[in-house]
Amino acid sequence: MMDQIGVVNIGGIEWKNPVATAAGTFVCDESSNHFDPASLGAITTKGVSAEPWHGNPMPRIAETPSGMLNSVGLENPGVDAYIDGELRALKDMGATVIANVAGHSTEEYMDVCRKLDETDVDMLELNVSCPNVREGGMSFGTDTETLSRLTEKVRAVTGKPLIVKLSPNVTDIAELAVATERAGADALSLINTLLGMRIDTRTGRPVLANLTGGLSGPAIRPVAVRMVYEVAQRVHIPIIGMGGIMTGEDALEFLLAGASAVAVGTAALIDPAAPARVARELAGLAHGTYREVHS
């Protein structure tokens, strides 16, 4: 019974259960000490770019009520190091791996996807919604035309199932979702972080060196649930819902809103085993509410 509900198909890839990690919150060396990556539906790895990126200056983390701001800026060692390192390690452990792809330009996104197309990575997730990168990043994800063009171009260079991760920093997320589906995306992830800011009243200065950052955690969960609900009415491709999921019950809320799967992000920064715990809790809950609603 649990297995029937547990297994989901996202863009042609079978996940053991509907729970993944969210990009930027899983690091194989550290996280795999706390749970078996192969036990989850999928592991989404940290945004990877064509060349190494140094990210933004520190401080780049700030706590907020029931959440946090980050302005890490997609620091990563580049796609070549990723392929030989973390991707290899995760595939050896038997995990289903989603590579989150970042870029400053269409060409960079395509370069990374071309390289990943030749690996055994299971799925690609286009990060077109990071608010912490000046060129590229979110600017690709907030304009319907630009996002459609990028999705089409990337679609043309890879046969891997393609997920597009949408930004909540838009007026109508459903419109972008529809355009992305039309451009060839196999699934959608939503939501990325909400653009936010904190100012230290003692110094009068922004807490983050980058001034602004992306808000995540339970604080954004109602916004994320609402957006998943709106998008689910308009698209036919699967939705991976995320935004402040801390428990199995939170995950269930997203599934009830129309998501086919969920991803756990900020919770993993507070409890390294949170993704596995959420999957267990959800499996327990799935006997009840979820099954009734979906039967």
């Binding site: 899983f26 940290k46 983390i61 060692p77």
Partner: protein, 323 residues
């Protein structure tokens, strides 16, 4: 490297030892304060099922490592990372001692937790000091909240025996106001000198007299011939400007220093990439040109890499840090 693991700890002691500075003792035993009473049990839905006991974390800990402390408050989710000030034995039980200061709403809330309260912890985190191969004289340099962890360092250094046998240990402690932990550290040191930025210090250890910084005190002691430089190894913990000054002084005198860096962390265990810094991975050597290492001179001989303070540090050889 030690692996961070989760535990549920019971607060055995949480007392103010200086203005706004608290000593937090974590135990595995309910009613560890001796009252027999149980404080608030952990009820958060975000419970971390525990992997290990506080005693396990304490047994695995080495000086320079830290512990993540999580508040019982879902509006303040991020861990508070505190350096391990000591591992103490009480009734045959190993306990963790952490010292923190009230800096914001989170630490103010922590200060309100009464003995018996259960809190979640993760540790030991990061890499501590390398206590192998220290010189015949060990100089501990601490500033502010960087001082209490030097107690753990001093004790383990005293217990160790390097290539020169038992090292002589001198501690230089810099406070912003009143002194704390100097007497405890003195138990394991040959000499302890303290200085405060805001007042004259008096008491049972040798104080620096008039107000000033750790570097003022070091200069004074060197001038007075009270501080050996030859054969010295420095172990330092404190605010970044102090560590940088100590590092430059160490490089200028050609002596090795290990510094425990402070950084604003997110997860505290290596996942969020919030606290990375530049580290030179070459083997810097003192050059004749400027008397500084290749790192400080900015030559290309030492490749620079990104390192996480929480996971790869917080202790680094000072001449590898790109300040």
């Amino acid at each position: 490297m030690n692996m961070s693991q989760k535990a549920v700890a019971t607060i055995a002691e949480n007392i103010e030892i200086a203005r706004g500075v608290f000593r937090l003792v974590l135990s595995d035993v309910q009613g560890a304060d001796g009252s027999g009473a149980c404080g608030a049990r952990l009820t958060s839905p975000v419970v971390l099922p525990k992997d290990v006991t506080v005693a396990d974390i304490a047994a695995a800990a080495v000086p320079g490592q830290f512990v993540n402390v999580y508040l019982n408050n879902e509006s303040m989710l991020l861990p508070r990372p505190f350096g391990i000030s000591d591992v103490e034995s009480f009734d045959g039980e190993r306990r963790l001692v952490l010292v923190y200061a009230i800096r914001g709403a989170g630490t103010a809330e922590l200060a309100s937790y009464v003995p018996g309260t259960e809190i979640r912890v993760l540790g030991p985190n990061g890499n501590g000091y390398d206590l192998e191969g220290l010189g015949r004289h060990v100089l501990l340099v601490g500033g502010g909240l960087g001082i209490p962890p030097l107690l753990f360092v001093a004790r383990r250094t005293r217990e160790s025996s390097g290539p020169y046998g038992r090292p002589k240990i001198t501690a230089i402690l810099g406070y912003s106001e009143d002194a704390y932990y100097s007497e405890a550290i003195h138990l394991y040191c040959d000499d302890v000198f303290g200085i405060s930025e805001s007042r004259h210090l008096g008491g049972g250890v040798s104080y620096g007299g008039s107000p000033g910084t750790v570097m003022d005190l070091i200069d004074r002691l060197v001038f007075e011939g009270k501080l050996d430089v030859a054969g010295t190894s420095i172990l330092s913990c404190g605010p970044i400007p102090m560590l940088r000054a100590v590092s430059e002084w160490a490089v200028g005198n050609g002596i090795p220093a290990q510094v425990s860096l402070e950084a604003r962390m997110g997860c505290g265990y290596g996942a969020c990439v919030g606290c990375t810094i530049d580290i030179s991975v070459g083997a810097p050597t003192v050059t004749e040109d400027c008397g500084l290492t290749a790192t400080f001179c900015g030559t290309a001989s030492s490749p620079i890499v990104r390192r996480k303070v929480c996971k790869d540090g917080p202790v680094f050889p000072s001449d590898t840090v790109i300040w």
